[in-house]
Amino acid sequence: MLNTPKARSRGYKPGERPWTACLYILPGFIIYAVFVLWPILDTLRYSFYEWSGFSSPSFIGLDNYIKLYSDEIFRKALVNNLWFIVFYTVFPIVIGLFLTALMTRRRLPGMTLFRTGLFMPYVMAMVVVGVVWRWIYNPATGPLNQALRAVGLDALARPWLGDFDLALPAVGVVGTWVQFGFCMVLFIAGVQRIDEMLYDAAKLDGANEWRQFWHITLPGLRNEISVAMVTTLIAALRIFDLVFVTTRGGPGNETMVVALHIYRNAFAINRVGYAAAIAVVLTIVIVIISVGVLALRQKWVED
């Protein structure tokens, strides 16, 4: 990823000096350093302090991290984030692969229209998505319960987002709805890059469509699948806007997620150092997962 021999082998051009490159990089890098890099390092620093945000901070070493162990809400949030992975990563990738398999390599007329529509949820602000779905789930006037009552399934109508067992899946389904089009568009683009000869050879060998999918399409898509995994896993671990708008973590802490726990601690109950410690843990988890999946991809590609 970082290694480009092409860029490195090139010498200075006549009249160019190393500081020419600096002049090109500096303006962007300064803004990045002040407003992104510095705060990242500060988060790490904050996490070793007890600080309300206003009083003077006191250094407490690793106490914030130790406290995390016994924080029931944090544990609940972490487990919920793992559940969201099922809705954000597993379901969308399976649906995306299913749809891709259906139309493998057939350039159907009207495909652009389908692609535009299926990708639409991914383009929307999560706040809009949350507002719309919160109303869809509205117990009294929401379209979902209206539809259930209209077809005589009154017994199934319920306050979806207020139900202790159903709130998390209800929010999760929204995640699936946002992500599946993205996965599909990614996979369809990938399928078109697979060498047609492979399929022709398989057909000559008498392989049916299922075997073609299993032995050619799926291995051919490992790059795209790993990208979909990284992107959707990060989205599931970072989920905030959607939960904030639909349930605010409720009922109880049934839909509490790590990012919301950070927000509450940092900006509502003023436990700034503790919130920073949670943020550090979240960041480490995200980086480990991203690097892990990318390493897995590297292994796949080498095989």
Binding site: T4, F29, D42
Partner: protein, 298 residues
């Protein structure tokens, strides 16, 4: 389809055309189930928006009678109310004031630093590039807390600057990565020819490389716009004055206060959604290439 016929010529011309024709005969009948399944998923994907737009044109009492029907009368007044009474005009203005400088400045800075990383050799280039990449990997949650306190300390909290500057910082991180990928692929001959013509590095970038880079730059700009337009967390934390709220923040607060007036909330949500949708439909190809291509190379 032309491509398939070309690669399929190996087994022999007669056999090949024969089987192709067979395939083509059953084309429509065979694809009908595929279309139906796709149609179901398409409906699932766009149905919430359709129903949102319908709702935005209804009255509350009409909505209570049925969520799925077309509006009896297309009442534009909901939009007018959202725009003036609910202050969506202010929120829209804030979003535009933030998005335009972010997109323009981030693009200029990304092109410049991407050019340096892609075409020049200098000390610590790998280390610097890796440091920039941190900005793509690390979630916003990892920097929002100190960002709030630092901005408060320098007096920029609760101003447009508090949204613009961090957003540029994060965009430059992705943009440098994106433009470096493009510039590293430019044929050396093109650059050499420019050098022979007496261009220095700035002229080479500005007159020779920029025209060829336009598709890559457009993809990047569309992504910058949509990310900035849709941002919620930055605005939620860094903005407290009502009139400075951006559209997503304004919508979230508005929904909290007006849970009963669903049509008005729907009108507000539509106002937030339309610019992103328009941008997406207009630059669909570039947008999808940006999302998929950018992540594949990463």
């Amino acid at each position: 389809m032309g491509q398939t016929e070309l690669t399929n010529s190996t087994p022999g011309p007669t056999l090949s055309t024969g089987s192709r024709r067979l395939g083509r005969l059953s084309f429509k009948a065979r694809d009908l189930p595929v279309y139906l399944i796709l149609l179901v998923f398409l409906l699932i994907a766009i149905f919430p928006f359709i129903i949102m737009v319908f709702t935005a044109f209804k009255t509350s009492s009409e909505l209570a009678r049925g969520a799925f029907s077309l509006p009896e009368v297309w009442r534009w007044s909901n939009f007018a109310d959202a725009w003036t009474q609910a202050r969506f005009d202010r929120f829209f203005f804030s979003s535009v004031i933030v998005a335009i400088p972010v997109v323009l400045v981030s693009t200029a800075l990304s092109v410049m630093s991407g050019y340096a990383f892609g075409r020049m050799t200098f000390p610590f280039s790998r280390a610097l590039f890796f440091i920039l990449l941190l900005g793509i990997m690390v979630p916003l949650e990892a920097l929002i807390i100190p960002l709030y306190h630092n901005l408060r300390w320098i007096g920029l909290l609760d101003t447009y600057w508090a949204l613009i500057l961090p957003q540029i910082g994060m965009s430059v991180s992705f943009g440098t990565f994106w433009m470096r990928g493009f510039f590293a692929e430019v044929p050396q001959d093109l650059v050499d020819a420019a050098t022979v013509d007496g261009c220095n590095s700035w002229d080479t970038l500005w007159r020779v490389l920029l025209p060829t880079a336009m598709p890559a730059i457009t993809s990047m700009m569309v992504l910058f716009f949509v990310w900035t337009w849709n941002d919620f967390l930055l605005a939620l934390v860094l903005i407290s004055t009502e009139s400075l709220r951006t559209l997503p923040l304004g919508l979230a607060f508005f929904q909290g206060q007006h849970t009963t007036n669903v049509p008005l909330v729907a009108a507000g949500a539509t106002i937030v959604a339309i610019p992103a949708i328009m941008m997406y439909v207009a630059f669909q190809r570039q947008f999808i290439r940006g999302i998929t291509g950018g992540s594949i190379e990463g």
